[in-house]
């Protein structure tokens, strides 16, 4: 824990206008360092992760390119390189690094990337329903029952238990396949989204299509999370 009286935990909140260098008040327009006094500039807290990493809002991302950009920006912002600088610069470096790390972590993983994009474009995807996907409702309900039964009976080996375990393992495989199917569909939608997003002058049908792609992705992401949680539960219980 940091003890406030000892360390400077009451760091001055840095909420400076992005248009002016905090140090020499000259114009800055999104550069990381002021052109005049070369001081590091805070990344705007409102900046989204795509903008932070200098990327268009597309879902297909070249992993090596992203990693290189992350490394390059880490070299600009990491607190290790600000140890000898002023408190203000160190605070900016800390905030920028934390934002950069969050941006990279989110965009590096395709699922998190998609969740983030859907949230940016169309509100929260975190409202994951507590109901199983409609078409799997019956199947999952009976699976939950089996799982309860298995948990209750485990510890007393019997032929029934072995049979139940085999059934659960096969259900698990089915669900894993189901998860993979959802992911392939999701990645198809990545391409659709990117194609639509590249249209410079989106027409009304393009906008409508984007809406429906986002909606389907949100559905898929939410169902996938549900299925994955059950799979994890199954793997932990029956191996």
């Amino acid at each position: 824990m940091d003890h406030p009286p000892r360390a400077a935990s009451s760091r001055t909140e840095l909420q400076m206008a992005r248009s002016m260098c905090w140090h020499c008040q000259s114009e800055v327009a999104g550069e990381y360092f002021c052109e005049r006094c070369v001081k590091v500039q805070p990344l705007s807290k409102e900046q989204d992760y795509f903008t932070c990493l200098g990327l268009p809002r597309l879902l297909t991302i070249d992993a090596t390119g992203l990693e290189n950009k992350f490394y390059e920006m880490s070299r600009s912002f990491h607190p290790d390189f600000y140890q000898t600088k002023t408190d203000t610069e160190r605070t900016i470096s800390l905030g920028n690094s934390a934002l950069l790390n969050a941006a990279y972590r989110t965009l590096k993983d395709p699922i998190q990337r998609a969740e983030y994009l859907v949230r940016l474009e169309a509100g929260s995807v975190k409202e994951i329903r507590n109901q199983p996907p409609a078409d799997l409702f019956e199947e999952i309900l009976s699976l939950q029952d089996d799982l309860e039964e298995f948990r209750a009976a485990s510890g007393q080996p019997s032929a029934d238990l072995t049979a139940l375990q085999a059934k659960l393992q096969s259900d698990c495989e089915t669900l894993e396949q189901r998860q993979r199917d959802m992911e392939s569909r999701l990645f198809e939608l990545f391409e659709t989204w990117d194609r639509l997003q590249r249209q410079t002058e989106p027409t009304e049908p393009v906008r409508a299509k984007k809406e429906s792609v986002l909606k389907e992705m949100r559905e898929l992401l939410s169902n996938r999370t549900y299925v994955r949680n059950i799979v994890n539960d199954l793997v932990a219980t029956v191996g």
Partner: protein
């Protein structure tokens, strides 16, 4: 820019290193050894640290503290199972373990500070300048409390701790610098008390940690214990003696177990000898490497679970690992090497000294912080998930384990009752669902404006800095006003306590200085006695009877003075011996060793002849 040193504050041994130009270098002691045993003895003459303190383990077990790192950032309940193994008395105060020595109590950071001071003085002597800034290493799997305790230790020792850095990542820096390693590497670090596994990607000077895992209670100490337990059982069965009741013999047993383990890294069998308590004879047995491996296999297997978890978290399989690097003294055991090789499917290597590589890496990190090295950058992660307790004792996760640091998470808090003026927040670290199964880090109280329920909006930012240490700040979203957060650590010293301990450490310094002078004078006396006696053996026939008598009586006087507590008297006798042997040294030089040894003192000369 003042120099920043790198310190490996280990369970068993500690080291201090610096950058000599572009080369990280460990500071050697007067005896040439780079490792300072992490042992502190509180003698009647004051404080002794390191090699000299190690001698007190057997002589003075209740007043000699070792393996204090195991207690850093812990409460008494955390270490209950190992309390019987330690000869000193532990108690708890304010959630922090205290070690009672006589009528005084010391916190683990205070003891660690004594070791840090010893290292600091060693570096100051070697470099001829004052040392005030340091990078200190900790096991990667250390939690927030353990890191903060290490930082406190630095402050008590009069060091500004610029960075707490993880041991396996420090090692990777040393490898990256000296071996130009690239690709994906696994650093397997089994030390005296802790185990870490870190998986890193090394690319163009960036050291990105992908995942880390470990066990902060698994190391050489634990291996020694299972071996020692066998000896203790033998002694009970064969002689009916419960060695646990004899603190000094327990220490001899522990040290003999450690030595046998070390010997069995080279030999296939070794013999163990221990003097039994109260002059009841000797215990002897043979220990084979097979037996050792049978005893220690379960412990070594325990390290493989974290390795698999780290691989899983990194999204990798063993085949994706390009190199496996071994760090820590315990990796000298052939069984460790075999098990690691079997898991990763490739031969691990230890091209750099596994005892020194962490300190060397800390020196590299120190150089990065001072602006000396700019082409290397370490991107480390937080080892444990961080969360807060919510309704029903469930943990709401804020920051996942293996998240690159620095990182921050924001959480909005409000009130449930009209006019409620505060909300209590409990911060935890760990991977479990329920608060009670995780490590409590700290609690704090958030002040709320007295408004209808649900109206106040206080945004709390949890920031894990580059040290892996949590910082908390709060802001009223409605007014924009920031609120200072007085965080009360669950297992840590309060600010006042740290302040007081810094004050005390200055007070002790005077006593310590006296003890140090005595030890140094005694060591010097011993060296000169040995050297002169050796020289007499080689060239005594060159002397006249009078000279011989004079030398012998000066040696006897020094021998006598050495046993007193008076360092000034010892110094005077040393000078006397030097005076009466001056002629003898010249004689020796003129005769047998003329050509090579111009202007050398007697002791240096015999050193040379030893090597020749």
């Amino acid at each position: 820019m003042t120099r920043i040193v790198g310190i490996d504050l280990g369970t068993t041994n500690s080291l201090i290193a610096y950058m000599d130009g572009k080369t990280p270098t460990v500071v050697p002691g007067r005896n040439g050894r780079t490792m300072v045993p992490s042992v502190v003895a509180m003698t009647d003459n004051g404080l002794i640290v390191g090699d000299a303190a190690k001698e007190h383990l057997v002589r003075n077990p209740e007043r000699t503290i070792y393996s204090v790192k195991r207690f850093m950032g812990k409460g008494l309940a955390d270490v209950q199972s190992e309390v019987p193994y330690f000869p000193y008395t532990l108690h708890e105060q304010g959630g922090v373990i205290r070690i009672r020595i006589g009528d005084k109590s010391y916190s683990p950071p205070q003891i660690s500070a004594m070791i840090l001071k010893e290292l600091k003085q060693r570096a100051e002597g070697h470099l001829g300048e004052s040392i005030t800034k340091a990078v200190i290493t900790v096991p990667a799997y250390f939690n927030d409390s353990q890191r903060q305790a290490t930082k406190d230790a630095g402050m008590i020792a009069g060091l500004e701790v610029l960075r707490i850095i993880n041991e396996p990542t420090a090692a990777s820096l040393a490898y990256g610098l000296q071996e130009r390693t690239q690709g994906t590497i696994a650093v397997y670090d089994l030390g005296g008390g802790t185990f870490d596994i870190s998986i890193l990607k090394l690319k163009n000077g960036i050291f990105e940690v992908l995942a880390t895992n470990g066990d902060t209670h698994l190391g050489g100490d634990d291996l020694d214990r299972v071996i020692g337990d066998v000896f203790a059982k033998d002694i009970r069965d064969q002689y009916g003696i419960d060695i646990n009741l004899h603190a000094d013999d327990m220490q001899s047993l522990r040290l003999e177990a450690e030595r046998a383990k070390i010997r069995l890294s080279d030999d296939l069998k070794t013999s163990v000898t221990l003097n039994l308590p109260d002059g009841k004879g000797q215990y002897r047995r043979e220990l084979t490497r097979d037996q050792l491996e049978g005893l220690t296999l379960p412990l070594i297997e325990r390290s493989l679970g974290p390795c698999r978890l780290a691989l899983k978290d990194a999204g990798l399989t063993p085949a994706d690992i390009d190199e496996v690097v071994l760090v820590g003294g315990s990796t000298r055991m052939p069984l460790v090497r075999q098990r690691v090789e079997a898991l990763f499917g490739k031969t691990p290597h230890w091209n750099l000294n596994p005892d020194e590589v962490v300190a060397l890496g800390a020196a590299v990190q120190a150089d990065i912080l001072s602006g000396g090295t700019t082409d290397m950058l370490l991107l480390d992660v937080t080892p444990l998930s961080l969360g807060i307790e919510t309704m029903g004792g469930v943990v709401s996760s804020l920051i996942r384990r293996n998240t690159t640091i620095p990182t921050s998470a924001k959480e909005m808090f409000t009130t449930y009752v009209d006019g409620q003026t505060s909300v209590d927040i409990h911060i935890l670290q760990g991977e479990r669902e329920l608060a009670k199964d995780n490590r409590s880090l700290a609690r704090f109280q958030l002040k709320m404006p007295p408004l209808p329920a649900g109206v106040p909006r206080i945004e709390v930012t949890f920031l894990i800095d580059a040290n892996g240490i949590l910082n908390v700040s709060a802001r009223d979203v409605r007014t924009g006003a920031t609120q200072s957060v007085a965080v009360k650590p669950s297992y840590g010293l309060s600010d006042d306590e740290v302040e007081r301990m810094i004050g005390e450490s200055f007070k002790f310094a005077a006593e310590d200085f006296k003890a140090r002078q005595l030890i140094e004078a005694r060591n010097e006396a011993e060296a000169i006695l040995q050297a002169t006696n050796k020289a007499l053996g080689q060239g005594g026939h060159l002397l006249t009877a009078d000279d011989l008598t004079a030398i012998k009586s000066s040696l006897a006087a020094l021998e006598g003075a050495r046993l007193t507590e008076d360092h000034k008297a010892i110094r005077t006798r040393i000078q006397d011996v030097e005076k009466v042997t001056h002629h003898f040294a010249e004689l020796l030089m003129d005769t047998s060793l003329k050509e090579a040894l111009q202007n050398k003192s007697l002791s240096e000369m015999t050193e040379h002849s030893e090597k020749a």
